[in-house]
Symmetry: C2
Subunit: 252 residues, 2 copies
DNA sequence: CGGCGGCTTGAAGGACGTCAAGATTAGTGG
DNA sequence: CCACTAATCTTGACGTCCTTCAAGCCGCCG
């Protein structure tokens, strides 16, 4: 098993949101994005840096945390892609989300005080670990950090709510592709070409569809000139029409 | 339009979570439930009381807030039932939730800094208004308040996630009835008899079903002896079998 | 009483799931 | 480098759960 070869045919557009050495906190991280540009609270970044713990690498299918474990920390993805999922009473998997570099995982564990889902690496993953008690203490002293935590939590409510909506397979897939492309773009990657780190099964499960339906809709999108698909490589060819399909979901 | 008659035939089991005069903060409120029993931070309760603003009554269909309005406060329902909903690009309503006395509304507005949904009174509603800037300032001084806010936010992620799952109409309705009954029970009302404040249409919309499907499933549940339905009055007759139906949703 | 909205019930249709069989692709060992 | 195998993905045929459409019922209020 080769240590670095996980990306298949392409020369690994494996997203790494790492802006340098350990002295600099990820500028693309969910926390950095607020603390850095604000200018205020220069001390906050230094203290966050003291707090954070770099963890990894995790290999494909390894767990950052598992359902039921005592909650102690939240994580920012530093590199790779993380999938969160639960296993329901009937043993069926339910995919909750895919997390790119710079995005947070584990916020849903604060309330139950246990992780309510598994967080699994879809490829080689590095994360930043934030001890939550320490972070909360820091937040009490640093209004900007507290605000950012509130915002991150609130944003996750919105994402989950959006996902709970009632939409057709076409709407779901169009929104999924656009959302993913936009999130890649926000982290500095190509806005129209993406490599799906997850299987069709994971996509289908996430969108509450059958894998066969995902195949068929992607096929049709390609036939209609909306996208170009080659295995897990996807190119968005007509953003306008995709956005039109997804307008009910993505419009606020 | 009579001021108090909204409950129909029954002599108004209209939930009021008000434990007395204004000197005492609602003991059933989402904040009280943590601040009171903890014992610690006796001062916190007093300060929360200074902060809170009693608002109401709102009549049926009146808005506590509306989508797009600038976010400034979160609300605890004090009496009555609140429905949150959005209107999507196609003009279709999407019901996000029903909120009982003691439950919070508006947490999903922190991130966008605008309310992302309408909050409407389903009957006569009283609320407590918490200015969010003031609450955040208090939270920075009071670890218990901060923790409670984090927990409330995190819990809402869990609720929305649960709702996003893929389930049959039977599973959804069984879980809906049990959940509602349990939440009423937690506020001191009957655990097995409830009056639905919302229309079949609202239930259907919330569960992503057609109103006709809700009617049919309720009918069948009644024929199977699981519940007794009379208009908007529902009695749970066989909690065990309902829980079995809902096991995939409600099991953590 | 008459009309209106909410609710129920039946019949027909559709979107998606399930089942089954191939087609690619990836992973493994010679 | 090339079989060989297993996993993933695709494609087609069919079934099903739920929606849609339509009509009738019930309770409420003028």
């Amino acid at each position: 098993m080769n240590e670095h070869v996980r990306t298949g045919r392409a020369p690994a557009p494996n997203p790494i949101a790492d802006d340098g050495d350990e002295q600099h906190f990820c500028s693309t991280c969910a926390f950095g994005s607020v603390c850095l540009p604000a200018g205020v609270e220069k001390g906050a970044l230094a203290e966050l840096h003291m707090l954070v713990e770099h963890v990894g690498p995790y290999r494909t299918d390894e767990a950052i945390f598992r359902s039921g474990e005592r909650f102690g920390a939240i994580f920012a993805v530093r590199a790779g892609m993380v999938k969160t999922r639960t296993i329901d009473a009937a043993g069926r998997e339910q995919v909750l989300g895919f997390h790119l570099p710079g995005e947070m995982v584990g916020l849903n564990a604060i309330h139950p005080a246990k992780y309510p889902c598994d967080a699994l690496a879809l490829d080689t993953v590095f994360v930043c670990r934030f001890s939550f008690p320490a972070l909360a203490t820091l937040a009490a002293r640093m209004p900007g950090v507290q605000q950012q935590l509130f915002r991150l939590l609130s944003a996750d409510i919105g994402k989950a709510t959006q996902r709970a909506g009632d939409y057709t397979a076409d709407e779901r897939l169009a929104a999924f592709l656009l959302d993913l492309a936009d999130r890649y773009a926000a982290r500095g990657f190509s806005a129209n070409a993406l490599r799906l780190a997850m299987s069709r099964n994971d996509i289908a499960n996430y969108l509450r569809l059958a894998a066969e339906t995902v195949s068929r809709v992607l096929r049709r999108f390609q036939d209609q000139g909306l996208i170009a698909v080659d295995g897990r490589e996807v190119v968005l060819r007509d953003r306008a029409r995709l956005a039109h399909l997804a307008r009910n979901i993505l419009a606020q």
